[in-house]
C-alpha cells in the first residue's frame, strides 16, 4: 500500500501524456512517463525494475495507440541503462543529472521513432530533439517533487 504513490504518479504522468494539445505543441510534449519511471528506478531500483518498465510500457502503448511493444521496448532499454548507472548518477549535481536524463529521453525517442520508420512512417530528424529537451528542463522539478513525495511516504 505504501507503494501506491508510485502508481499514482505514473497514472498522473499517463494523463499528462494523453492530454489534448494544439498540433504544433505536440512534438514538444515531454515523455512524462519516462521521466517518472527514470526517477523511481533511480530511487527504488529494487522495486522499479525491468518488469515494471515492461508493464508500464504496455499501458502506454495502449493509451497512445501505438504497436504493442513500441514504447515498451524503449522504456525497458532506458531502465536497463539506468539500472547500470543509477549509483553513479545519484551523487551527481542537478545539471549533470539533467544531461544524463536528456541522453535517456533521446534514446527513448529514437527507439520509438525507429519502429515508426520501419513501419514506413519516417519522422523528420529535427523533431527528435524538442521533446527530450523540454523533458530535461522539467526533470529538476519532477525530481524534487517526487523526492519529497517519496520521503513523505517513507519509501526507501
Amino acid at each position: 500500500m505504501r507503494y501506491l504513490v508510485i502508481y499514482l504518479s505514473l497514472l498522473l504522468a499517463l494523463v499528462l501524456m494523453i492530454l489534448p494539445l494544439p498540433e504544433w505543441v505536440e512534438i514538444y510534449r515531454p515523455n512524462w512517463v519516462a521521466l517518472v519511471l527514470i526517477y523511481w528506478s533511480m530511487a527504488l531500483p529494487k522495486r522499479v525494475g525491468l518488469w515494471f518498465a515492461f508493464l508500464t510500457g504496455i499501458v502506454v502503448d495502449v493509451s497512445q495507440g501505438t504497436l504493442f511493444g513500441q514504447h515498451t521496448l524503449a522504456l525497458v532499454v532506458i531502465i536497463f541503462i539506468n539500472m547500470n548507472f543509477y549509483q553513479r548518477i545519484r551523487v551527481l549535481t542537478m545539471p549533470q543529472q539533467a544531461i544524463y536524463v536528456f541522453a535517456l529521453l533521446l534514446i527513448n525517442q529514437v527507439l520509438v521513432a525507429w519502429v515508426e520508420g520501419i513501419m514506413g512512417r519516417p519522422t523528420p530528424i529535427l523533431t527528435f530533439f524538442g521533446a527530450p529537451f523540454i523533458g530535461t528542463l522539467i526533470w529538476p522539478w519532477v525530481f524534487v517533487l517526487l523526492r519529497d513525495i517519496r520521503r513523505k511516504a517513507m519509501l526507501r
Partner: protein, 273 residues
C-alpha cells in the same frame, strides 16, 4: 562474483524482455489477435480518457451558459432561416430521390436505400503527432464495427480501426497510412487519395498524364473496396503537379470534412449487399 552474476541476470532479463517486445510488435503489426488485449486495457483506461476530456466539456458548457440572450435570439433566427432553406431543398430532394428510384427501377439495378447512421462525438484526438487518429464516444455496444465509415457534415472523415465497448478509434483519411478510393465527379475518372499526415491535403498519385483533371474538381467516394459507401464528398483538387520525366500527373486535394475541428461525427453502417 556475486555482483557479476547479478549484472548478468539483469542483462539476460533485459534481453528477454526486448525480444518479447519485438515479437509483440511483429505480431501486432501482422495479425489481429492482440486486438482483444488492447480493447480490454483500453476499456480500463476509459475513465482516464473521460477525465482528460473534462476540461473541454466544462469549457463548452460554461460557454453555452454565458451566451447572451441577444446572441441566442440571433442564433435562433439564423437557425430558423437555415431550417426553412433546408426544408425547401429537402422537398426537391425527395422528388429527385423518387425520380432516381424510378429510373433505377427502369434500369433494373438495386434500389438505393438511405444509409444507417449513428451520431457520435469526438472524445479525444490521438496524442501521436505523426498519426491522424481520433477517438469517438460510440463503440460496439452501439453497433459500431471495424471498417465503418465516419463523416462529418461536409464530407468523409475516415474509418473505424479499433472498437471498444463504449468507444472506437478511427483513422482519418489524412493519415499517411490511409488511402481512400475516389472518383472525379466531372470526368468520372477513378483514383485513390492517399493521406499525407497533415489535415489540409490528400495526394492523388500516378494519374496518367492524359487524365482529365482540373483545379477545383470535386472528388467523391467511389465505393470500390466496399469500405466507404459511394458518392460521399471527399475533397477538392487544389494543385496539379506534372512529372515530366515519368509521364505521370499527381495532384493535391483539400479534404471537404473539417478533419481538425469537427466535434460531431456520423458513423455510417454500410448497406448489406
Amino acid at each position: 562474483m556475486k555482483n557479476l552474476l547479478q549484472a548478468r541476470g539483469a542483462f539476460l532479463q533485459a534481453l528477454f524482455l526486448i525480444v518479447i517486445c519485438i515479437a509483440m510488435m511483429i505480431f501486432d503489426h501482422r495479425f489481429q489477435h492482440l486486438e482483444v488485449v488492447r480493447s480490454n486495457i483500453s476499456f480500463a483506461l476509459a475513465p482516464l480518457r473521460y477525465a482528460v476530456s473534462l476540461p473541454a466539456i466544462a469549457g463548452n458548457w460554461a460557454g453555452e451558459w454565458f451566451t447572451s440572450h441577444k446572441a441566442l435570439l440571433e442564433e435562433n433566427e439564423a437557425l430558423r432561416t437555415e431550417g426553412r432553406i433546408l426544408n425547401a431543398r429537402l422537398q426537391k430532394l425527395q422528388v429527385l430521390a423518387e425520380e432516381n428510384a424510378r429510373l433505377r427501377n427502369l434500369l433494373g439495378s438495386a434500389a438505393r436505400i438511405n444509409d444507417e447512421v449513428i451520431i457520435a462525438e469526438l472524445l479525444s484526438v490521438d496524442q501521436n503527432p505523426y498519426r491522424q487518429l481520433i477517438e469517438i464516444n460510440k463503440g460496439s455496444d452501439d453497433g459500431v464495427e471495424i471498417g465503418h465509415a465516419i463523416i462529418d457534415d461536409f464530407g468523409v472523415m475516415g474509418q473505424v480501426i479499433h472498437v471498444n465497448p463504449r468507444s472506437a478509434t478511427t483513422i482519418l483519411i489524412s493519415d499517411a497510412e490511409h488511402a481512400t478510393p475516389v472518383q472525379f465527379i466531372r470526368s468520372g475518372t477513378r483514383s485513390v487519395a492517399f493521406g499525407r499526415g497533415t489535415t489540409d491535403s490528400l495526394e492523388l498519385r500516378y494519374l496518367p498524364a492524359t487524365a482529365d483533371i482540373m483545379i477545383g474538381d470535386e472528388l467523391v467516394t467511389s465505393g470500390l473496396g466496399g469500405r466507404f459507401p459511394p458518392d460521399y464528398p471527399v475533397a477538392e483538387v487544389i494543385e496539379i503537379r506534372e512529372d515530366q520525366v515519368r509521364g505521370f500527373v499527381s495532384a493535391l486535394a483539400a479534404p471537404r470534412a473539417r478533419l481538425d475541428s469537427s466535434r460531431q461525427v456520423l458513423v455510417i453502417q454500410p448497406r448489406q449487399q
